[in-house]
Amino acid sequence: MNSTELELTYTALAESIARVGETKTSLLLATLALDLLSRQPDADAALTYILQAERLANI
């Protein structure tokens, strides 16, 4: 994905979060994350992303 496409994706997700509202934001993001993780080659790859996100969230 090039930087223009990344920017479009960033905006689309921000607007999607705004549309569902704060109470459903976690559900939206969890659904999205699980879908994307399911496309990883194996559980190890998925786990790496999960642990990275957990570490960054705790910064």
Partner: protein, 549 residues
Amino acid sequence: MNTTPSLPDKVPVLIAGGGPVGLSLAALLAHHGVPCLVLEADPSWCEGSRAICLSRRSLEILGWVGADSPVTAKGLPWVGGRSYFRGTEVLHFEMPSEPAERFAPMVNIQQYYIEQFAHAAAVRAGGVEVRWSTRVSAVRPQASGVDVDCQSENGRTHRIHADWLVACDGGRSTVREQLGLQLEGMQYEGRYVIVDIEQDTRRQVERLAWFDPPSNPGSTILMHRQPDNVWRIDYQVADHEDPVDAVKPENVLPRVQAHLDMIGETAPWKPLWISIYNAKCLTLPRYRNGRVLFAGDAAHLVPIFGVRGLNSGLDDAGNLAWKLALVRQGRAGDGLLDSYSSERVLAARENIAFGSKSTEFMAPPHHGFELLREAALRLALVTPGVRSLINPRQTSPVEYVNSPLNQPDQGTAFTGGARAGMPGPEARLRTLQGLGHLTALYGSEFVALYFSNNPRLPDRVQRLAADSVVLAAGSAVAALRLVRVSAKGGPDSRTVADDLGQAWQRYDAIEGTLYLIRPDGYVMGRWREASSAGMDIDRVLKRALKDPG
């Protein structure tokens, strides 16, 4: 005793507003031989640094009237910047830059210096009168011009008839209000406090940004160096903070001190100027209303992020000046001014689109953008691929797509170079005066760039050098200057030597390629093999200027 001479009753061009755009436009018009009167409500150049980042393109425009050298002598050049999330660098960006370039991509300088240098250039060019402490109070469009009432310091009202009125009177334009015109668009809630402080520093000149810094948790802070040991510091205030309280020194100074402490700037300092700002994305739908034209903030307001405000205002002035001069001198139909409107409205919309993207990051307008920014800043620590999201998208010249002035490419296809509607690329060259730059040839008249290594020009090209085939003799801006760009051999009076091959490469030239460059440095048309194909540049010029569109 009041020795101020009385105001004239009639002027060819009246400019409402003597800010950086109005004064630069006056200088550019004077350069093209059009006298004008500038009315400014304030008593002198502005207070506070205001717009401080001048782009390379703006320096080129100021260069047309010799106002570039005082800016570069005083200003601080820079090429890039750094962004930090908390204490860690998450982005280092650099704008396009090359050795021995004519101008740095950006120069920082206080707006009052820009106004001063533009004013001096206008005076030097001659035919410009600037009246301070004189405000436009009423505007009445007429069939053959505009009647304008203005009030001078003593409260007396004076009526002036102007053939043309250009509104450069800023975001709260009186001219716009008098004509009952509305800006269209939206504005963002997020507010930034702007502080200038004086402090000695040796830090490199670059754009610095901190997200959620330990000095001011939750805030975003921007810093720019300016000449005279001045720092510009912008920081975001929380949504719940009252804007009046936010600019009180007792609320501002501790935040500044905390941040200076954090970055290790320990020299004594004092505040110079405090203001507050929120991002606006607004434009008039048209910049021409009969004999009234709009430029700068009077025409459009764009977010501060990406420094597209003053820079786009100077591009307005650069676009308008030559067109108004040609119309005023009877060399072009007034339809040419509609191309000013269509080209610069397009530019404003593009600036607004980029400015909105930057604002969504710098002052997130809702929960979704706040959350995404938090995520992007964290991911930037480990994933370089997302760092482009943090890039401030600095201003760059806008392509005038579908302008009525653009001539379609003819004959053999170009595979690169600059299309009609794009700014003519820069190149280092050798001229009779020594080493120089191609863009320094632009800004006064039309230029025909003919790429050839043969000093003997074909008849049809040679013909262009004769005054008889151009629009008219005696009008500088209506003239066509023929310049041969040679990749071999030295320069002469009308030949520049492209020793490095930059011009040939950047214009995608082969032997016999010809570019027609407008007086504002934009490409109007190009012919890959001008000597053999149907190259009818004089007819193109006449048709485009007499009846554009």
